[in-house]
């Protein structure tokens, strides 16, 4: 009997010829990631271990991204503690404000995640990295501390749900975000709880690497332990352009056993909007737009949709247009590299001329931390990943999730709608199908 991609990676790191779902194994970690909030608590735990040393500082990345640039004294104190820990232990990969961005864009962009590796991170969206064909999952601070000390962790081998995204052509304005919102709608927020999801099919093959990272970013929103897209020539080219470190392309065996196979026909799929207060509460854009749902804020950014490719799509819709007078628009590139590219490509000018806020990378607004917190009764259309009660601010605020093109159109319209309502032509394929 064959193994799935995820089972093979786990077996290889557990020193076992094979593993089966449900088994608990101890696996070696190729890479460990933390942000300032998970790391500051991990430091507390780590320092309780007499004689503890970081297992391998070259395999650790720490990024202060949630409350940075620091919002207040409390967050400045957290960032300072983290910085001291990084220096004391010689952590090789630390990204300071102005040189980094959001952890889940930095790790793939700097070649730190690669096909076949096994990594964990102190943030639930660590599953993003699975888009490169590796095993990546989120953990809390105590697990992070133990991983830093030991370079290994215990894990239950997950069952795998296989998704096959079929179709020959995506409709205009349908991008990776819509594929994953639709999949979450089908499965529910706990449809893949404790499981791996493997995302395959011609539609996924046609996506570029960045689109695949958007897909796996939201695996956690289905409750999944990890999401994975098998690496292909595109992945290899992308990774080789960023690192000389070795990697292993792993694929599921033809006779691998999946706990479930989900076939999705993508040809008829519309852009999706997840209504409050669950990411699984998806509705087609056409149905949403009929309701003329007015919003107070549009946010374009985050580890889900804050890359330069997302910004290009948003700017394509906003170019020469103005934000609706009744709302404010916040655009935050997810990384310094995307920020620089947005400046040099003239996108920053498009956003600023349209009347948007254009700001330095941070996770801030996505989790209601800072830089765009919603007040009571306010409504936001956001390109982020969660719309739970109070996620972006007051418990009586509402968040709708959508792709960057819908967000940009909504910014102009004043209500949730798509670029077609503005008469915008989609960018030329294949950029469309792969954004």
């Amino acid at each position: 009997m064959g193994m799935t991609l995820t089972e093979k990676i786990v077996a290889a790191h557990a020193g076992r010829p094979r593993v089966s779902p449900g088994e608990i194994v101890t696996a070696k970690l190729d890479f460990v990631l933390g942000n300032e909030l998970s790391t500051v608590l991990a430091i507390k735990a780590f320092e309780q271990i007499p004689g503890a040393r970081v297992f391998d500082p070259s395999r650790v990345c720490i990024v202060s991204d949630h409350f940075t640039p620091n919002k207040d004294l409390a967050t400045a104190a957290i960032a300072t503690k983290v910085r001291e820990f990084v220096r004391r232990h010689g952590i090789a990969h630390y990204f300071e404000v102005g040189r980094g961005g959001i952890e889940h864009t930095i790790v793939p962009d700097k070649g730190l995640a690669r096909p076949g590796i096994l990594m964990i991170g102190g943030d639930s969206h660590t599953c993003t990295m699975g888009g490169l064909g590796c095993f990546a999952t989120g953990v809390g601070s105590t697990d992070l501390a133990a991983a830093l000390a030991l370079g290994e962790w215990w894990m239950r081998v997950p069952e795998t749900i296989l998704f096959r995204f079929r179709g020959s052509r995506l409709r205009p304005w349908v991008v990776a975000k819509d594929l994953i919102l639709d999949a979450i709608r089908r499965m529910g927020v706990d449809g893949a709880r404790y499981k791996a999801i493997e995302l395959t099919g011609p539609v996924i093959d046609a996506l570029d690497v960045v689109g695949r990272l958007t897909l796996t970013n939201m695996a956690i929103e289905m409750g999944a332990k990890n999401g994975v897209v098998p690496a292909d020539a595109k992945t290899e080219a992308w990774v080789r352009a960023r690192t000389n470190l070795p990697y292993t392309v792993v694929r599921s065996d033809p006779d691998a056993v999946f706990s479930e196979v989900v076939d999705v026909d993508c040809d008829a799929l519309e852009p999706q909007v997840a209504w409050p207060h669950l990411p699984s509460n998806g509705h087609p854009l056409s149905e949403t737009s009929k309701r003329r749902i007015k919003v107070d804020q549009v946010f374009i950014g985050s580890c889900t949709n804050g890359r330069i490719e997302d910004l290009r799509l948003a700017a394509h819709v906003l170019r020469g247009r103005k934000a609706h007078p009744d709302l404010r628009v916040i655009v935050i590139p997810a990384s310094q590299d995307s920020f620089k590219a947005a400046c040099s490509e003239g996108l920053a000018e498009v956003f600023v001329e349209a009347g948007c806020v254009f700001s330095t990378p941070t996770c801030g607004p996505c989790f209601g931390g800072h830089m765009g917190v919603l007040g009571a009764g306010e409504r936001c259309l956001s390109t982020t990943n969660r719309n739970f009660v109070g996620r972006m601010g007051h418990r009586e605020s509402e968040v709708f999730l959508a792709n960057p093109a819908v967000a940009a159109a909504t910014a102009v319209l004043g209500y949730i709608g798509g670029p077609d309502e503005l008469g915008v032509q989609p960018p030329v394929a294949p950029a469309l199908a792969t954004a």
């Binding site: 608590l41 004689g51 503890a52 660590t126 809390g140 601070s141 105590t142 133990a146 669950l278 009660v389």
Partner: protein, 167 residues
């Protein structure tokens, strides 16, 4: 050890954002966090909760963020245990790691109501609803996870491992 207290019953998908909203994730002291426990789901909870009370909930308790302050907040608010139909995986690990007793017991979770008196035997996973006079059996923890619990949490477990390593 037997834990006993009054039930606060909630529904499915109680996420970490309502357990402790992101805006408070810059707090690092347990007592400061406890003041905001479940604030966005049930603003009156903090005033009503008594030391030793239990949370009972539906499916997928603790879904969302990996923030370990979620179980820390619940524990610091005085809650002695959480009984749910199921738990989100990161929350499950975090609870084990910081020593918040959690029990997966769908039948007990289904039938318990706010105000019921519930009793949980930690070692056996027996759950008794004394108000309703019913007894249930929670799913046992895997042996590997029990080792961590028995060592007194993950850090105690790691201490032993580090001490055993040659220098």
């Amino acid at each position: 050890m037997t834990l006993r207290g009054r039930v606060h019953r909630y529904g499915d998908n109680v996420d970490t954002d309502v357990i402790i909203p992101g805006r408070y994730c810059n707090l690092t002291e347990a007592k400061d966090l406890a003041a905001h426990c479940l604030e966005d789901l049930d603003p009156g909870f903090v005033k009503r909760v008594q030391p030793g009370d239990l949370l009972v909930a539906g499916e997928n308790f603790g879904c969302g963020s990996s923030r370990e302050v979620a179980p820390i907040t619940i524990k610091a608010a005085g809650v002695c245990a959480v009984v749910a139909k199921s738990f989100a995986r990161i929350f499950f690990r975090n609870s084990i790691n910081i020593g918040l007793p959690i029990f997966e017991c769908p039948a007990a979770a289904d039938e318990a109501e706010t105000g019921d008196e519930l009793e949980v035997e930690v070692e056996t996973g027996k759950v008794r609803n004394r108000t309703k006079g019913k007894e249930y059996q929670a799913a046992p923890l895997p042996p590997e996870v029990r080792q961590i619990v028995e060592a007194g949490g993950l850090i105690e477990y790691v201490k032993r491992r580090v001490a055993a390593k040659p220098a």
